[in-house]
């Protein structure tokens, strides 16, 4: 128990130092802008198909599952608004972030872990290149910027999926559907939900980088880094979501 607690506090200390170093390095030139754009392309653009497909399925399934219940109360006309609100406030941000945790955090963990094991990070350091700035800062920045954009995409495509779901059982005009969607959402539905996605992105990048950057020697640790990055990032997403909902509830919902 003593060892467990000691390790827990040691890890917490290491993560804090690692995070603190990010805020120190991100403001200090030289800025690795080109590498940051490359990471944005890899993290954002390369995740588009996966996020788009999942977004569409989320909207479609949510509509199909909710319809019978609403129909029983004669409230079928509320379906577009309900689907849009559920997607924008909760489902699209959390599911997209979880997909990103699986795809991006594990990818970063494995990539940096293998770079650590094969001494590529040491090679950068002895070439007087700051590996933290080049590898970590760029990836965390890219995740922080790209995850919110992916969530916005998932929101849009999810709402389109909802339209497809409604049209399986009835015939609703696209313009009317979107009119109902827009009528049911306001700024306070979008704003807190979007802010939390920046935190999701930041922690996905941070955890992936931390696990990879601190991987032990040996190829086994590469797998461990990837695996633990997904687990820790997924858990972090739920914790951030819980805090974000509490804060939103306190300050924004009347």
């Amino acid at each position: 128990m003593e060892t467990y607690l000691k390790n827990l506090f040691n890890n917490a200390g290491d993560v804090t130092v690692f995070t603190g170093r990010f805020f120190k390095e991100v403001l200090k030139p030289p800025f690795e802008i080109k590498e940051c754009f490359r990471q944005c392309y890899l993290i954002g653009y390369k995740s588009l198909p996966l996020v788009a497909i999942t977004g569409f399925i989320m909207g479609l399934v949510l509509t199909l599952q909710s319809r019978p219940t609403l129909a029983a109360f004669g409230a079928e006309s509320w379906l577009p608004g309900m689907v849009a609100l559920s997607l924008i406030r909760e489902i699209a941000p959390v599911i997209t972030a979880l997909i990103c945790a699986g795809k991006i955090a594990s990818g970063i963990g494995a990539e940096l872990g293998s770079m650590k094991v094969t001494e590529q990070i040491d090679a950068m350091e002895v070439s007087a290149i700051n590996p933290y700035k080049y590898l970590v800062v760029t990836r965390i920045m890219a995740c922080t910027l790209m995850v919110p954009l992916l969530v916005v995409l998932a929101d849009g495509i999810g709402i389109l999926g909802g339209y497809a779901g409604i049209n399986i059982h009835s015939d609703v005009n696209l313009f009317r559907y979107f009119s109902q969607v827009l009528a049911s959402i306001d700024f306070l539905d979008i704003f807190p939900a979007t802010i939390k996605t920046f935190f999701f992105g930041f922690f996905i990048g941070l955890i992936g980088c931390y696990k990879g950057f601190t991987a032990a020697n040996g190829t086994e640790s590469v797998g461990k880094a990837a695996n633990s990055a997904v687990v820790a990032a997924s858990l972090a997403i739920f914790i951030i979501d819980m805090l974000a909902v509490q804060i939103t509830d306190l300050f924004f919902i009347k």
Partner: protein, 259 residues
């Protein structure tokens, strides 16, 4: 052995040679009961090739990693170009690192970059005034030194072990270092390729007048490249001398390397 060491040190003082690397009383341990280095003393003069021999786990790689600050020593003085690297900040350490090349055991090529990008990577960061044409010419010249210009656009995964070592060496040379540290440069290579790499190390020393520390188990490499050889045992330097001198040494441990 001790008299031999004193003689060499007196010779350095008499001839006013300033070593580019000097280590005094280097201690390093990794956790309890795992003392790897227990007071290593060594020096390397300008233009000299020093070979460090020792069995696996004797702390050879740790010693050279201490020289570039990759491993922080517990105790001892490490002077590179006359500067004690334990007393410098990160910027000053990086200024020293630029003057040192390091060839890693597994070459440590960046997997996501082509051979060209691997070589351009340090160059673009430390020689910012160079034009694109000058960078291309420098990369090609470094690859010519190791006989691999044709591999310029290949990815590291497409290279053989020997080719990776050569590209690693070309990357090491790209910033024209004054000291090169080789961590087991011939490990995992066949006899012919090992010899080629050893000859390359020697050719580089002659061409660029670099000082080198070569960590190796390969006696053929030690014989060919070493101006002076040191043998590490139990965390300290056990024997020192030229290949010919050590070959005649009566010490059982030393002899075991020459069988």
């Amino acid at each position: 052995m001790l008299q031999e060491k004193i003689y060499i040190q007196e010779k350095i003082v008499a001839e006013n040679i300033i070593p580019v690397i000097s280590i005094k009383g280097l201690y390093k341990s990794f956790g309890k009961d795992n003392d790897v280095l227990k007071g290593v003393d060594l020096y390397v003069n300008e233009g000299e090739n020093l070979v460090v021999l020792g069995k696996s786990g004797s702390g050879k790689s740790v010693t050279i990693k201490c020289l570039v600050g990759l491993v922080v020593a517990d105790e001892g003085e490490i002077k590179v170009f006359g500067t004690n690297i334990s007393n410098v900040n990160n910027t000053e350490l990086n200024a020293i690192r630029i003057r040192i090349g390091f060839l890693f055991q597994n070459s440590a090529l960046y997997d996501s970059m082509s051979v060209r990008q691997n070589l351009e990577f340090p160059l673009k960061r430390h020689a910012k005034k160079l034009s694109a044409a000058a960078i291309d010419a420098t990369v090609r010249a470094a690859l010519e030194n190791v006989g691999l210009v044709e591999a310029i656009d290949k990815m590291p995964a497409e290279l053989s072990g020997g080719m990776r070592k050569r590209v690693g060496l070309a990357r090491t040379l790209i910033l024209q270092p004054e000291i090169i540290l080789y961590d087991e440069p011939t490990t995992g290579l066949d006899t012919i390729t090992s010899r080629e790499i050893s000859e390359l190390i020697l050719a580089i020393q002659k061409k660029y007048k670099t000082a080198s520390v070569i960590i190796t188990h390969d006696m053929a490499c030690a014989k060919l490249t070493g101006d002076r050889i040191m043998i590490l045992k139990d965390g300290v330097i056990h024997a020192e001398g030229s290949y010919a001198e050590l070959e005649k040494n009566d010490d059982e441990w030393v002899r075991s390397f020459f069988i």
